[in-house]
Structures are given as structure tokens and as C-alpha cells.
Amino acid sequence: MGTFLDICEGEKKSKNTGFKDQCIETKLQIPVLSNGFEFASVQAFKTKSAWKDAIAAKSLVPLFEVYELADASTEDTKFESGNFSKITAKGVEKITFECYLSICAYAALKSYENNGQYGEIFEFNEGGDYSGVFAADGTKVKGRKIKSITVTRIRATKDKVPYVKGEITYADKDDILDGVIVKSDLEKDDLDGIFDVTLKLVSASSTVIKLTAASGCSGNSFIKSLVLADFKVRNAAGVAQTVTLVPADEDGVYQLIGTGFATGYTVEVDGVVQQTNIMYEGVEKLPVTVTP
């Protein structure tokens, strides 16, 4: 009986090198986390609405614009003795960056640090080009696998504003060999994350609930563009109620009109509201207290 060894790759096939004009991607601008989402094809990858839908479904999470991007990758580790050389550990692709964020935005970013749900990343670049990699079927497009994303906020100093120091470590530095890099009508402004909406009760009677909807850290940026379908009014038993909506006035006050409103009713923003240039999601249900 002979020996059997099947642990090495076969002979690599060499490719032709006839490339005169080099088409090179630009620098990372916005990392977009993915929960393993796959675009059905390169064409879908180039379709803005497919991105928007995936963001609304929270399959994709656009992070923030990165600055001071730097490479912190490590080389392959080799064992060498005489004329013998063997790679004992593959190098790691790692990038570092800075973001200039409020505490609220930092808290949002921090929630994705080592978040087991989002383990892949698409990269939107400064030149408007963006990239992913082919999935195993060679047709679908997915994000590059990452090993970790870490962020730390550094306080303001004499010479610098507070900033977030970030680091992304990729799982496989060579998966980019299956890269898909495209350009389409997808723009940086299409990659805003979902804005939290906080509802605030102004007043409530048995027929009219007056409320405001606001976003922003301090909740003082009024949203006046919500429509009836964006609200859900429920009675104390959780049953949805039929209501009329009077749009927001100049102070941002909406009126929900119906019958039999009572303390214990709730109003909520119904799921992720997808508008042309922005998306909203309610933070929590607004409890209604009816005053006579």
C-alpha cells in the first residue's frame, strides 16, 4: 500500500496579462454592512431601488463617511531556512479610518461592533464606484466577509475635534479576486441610514390625537412629510383603528381623527417608512392619554 496526500492545491492556472488600460477602483468612502444579503445579479447590484429595498429591510446598513483611511494589513508570515521557504500564516487585510460623529451617531455605529448578524461589507468609494464579490454561484453579488469591525471614540483635544477611530479586518484578503466593481446611478446620498422617529403627544381627546414626529439626537428636527399609511393607531387591546390624518401644520403637529379614542391607545410609525430620499423608523409606540 502506498501513501496518499491531498492537502495541497493543484497547479495554478496562469492567466494572460494583456491589459493596457488599468481600470482601478477609488478609495473607500462609505462602508455598507450586510447580513449576508446577495444581489440577484450584477444588474441588480447596479440598480438603485434594489439597494434602497435592502436598506429598508435592514439587510444592508450604510455606515458613515470615512476619512484618514489607512492600510494596516499584515504580510504573509514565512518560515525560511536556506533555500526553503513556506508561508506559515496568511497575511490579514485590515484598514483603519476616522469618522467625525456625534455621540448619538457613534452609539449607532458602536452597535455594529462585532455584531454577529452583519458579517459582510460592501464598499462605496469616493469616485462613485462600489464593490462586492461574486457569490459561490458566480452570478449573485455579496459583500466581502469581515472578521471584525471595531470603533472607539476619542475625545476632543487642542488640535482635533472628537473623532471615532475605526478598524475593519477582512476575513480573506484574496476574496477580492472574485470582486465585482461597478458604477451606476447609485450615489453617496442614497446611502443614508434609517432615521429614528420619536412621536410626541401634543394632546388627545376622544376624537382627535395631536402629535409631532421628530428625528435627530435631541428630537427637535420635525418631520412633516408622513402620510396616513405611515401611522398605526391601536386600541388598548392592540387592535388597529381606522383614522383620518390631517397633515402636519407649520409647527409639525399632525392630527389623527377618529372615534372613541381612550387612554391606553397607542400610535406608532408603521415599519420602515421609505420616502424618495430618506427612510424613517419609529423608536417606540406613543402611549395616548386622553384628557377631557
Binding site: 382627535v208 402620510v227 396616513l228 381606522t242 383620518t244 390624518l245 390631517v246 397633515p247 392630527q255 381623527i257
Partner: protein, 81 residues
């Protein structure tokens, strides 16, 4: 088809008299910005949109379920000027 008037989106199945309608809806900012005579006329128009049984049929008078009537615009303009 939605029942809308000047951005107000009415629930289906509203059943009330015009007087009740005026009481519930007359004080919101859509109608408050109108001159009294205009307001009464526009409230009646909105009432018809809100309470008409079959909104797929055309309006009887000069009603417009989109709420983009010239009269409505004129009322808004005069109120804002």
C-alpha cells in the same frame, strides 16, 4: 382610491352630518387658513369627499378629490399673504 382633500387623508366609512364634520375638521390648519365664506364652501367639498359612498364616481359639482383646486390654492395664498 384614497379620499383626500388638501393633504387630509380620510378614513373610509365616515358617517356624520355636515355640522358634525365642521365641528371635528373645521378647526384644523387646512381650513383655519381660509376666509370664512371660502372655508364653509371648502368644508362642504371636503365633507362630500369624506362621506361619499362611491368615490370612483366623478364629483357632482366642482369637487376634486386630489384637493388641488384653484379655489383651495387661492385660499391658501390669501391666508399666507
Amino acid at each position: 382610491m384614497k379620499r383626500t382633500y388638501q393633504g387630509i387623508e380620510f378614513a373610509d366609512g365616515i358617517q356624520m352630518s355636515l355640522a358634525e364634520f365642521e365641528k371635528v375638521y373645521g378647526s384644523n390648519h387646512i381650513f383655519n387658513n381660509m376666509l370664512p365664506a371660502q372655508r364653509k364652501k371648502e368644508l362642504k367639498k371636503a365633507f362630500e369627499i369624506a362621506t361619499k359612498k362611491d368615490i370612483s364616481k366623478p364629483e357632482e359639482e366642482d369637487g376634486d378629490s386630489t384637493g388641488s383646486t384653484d379655489q383651495g390654492k387661492a385660499a391658501q395664498t390669501s391666508a399666507n399673504s
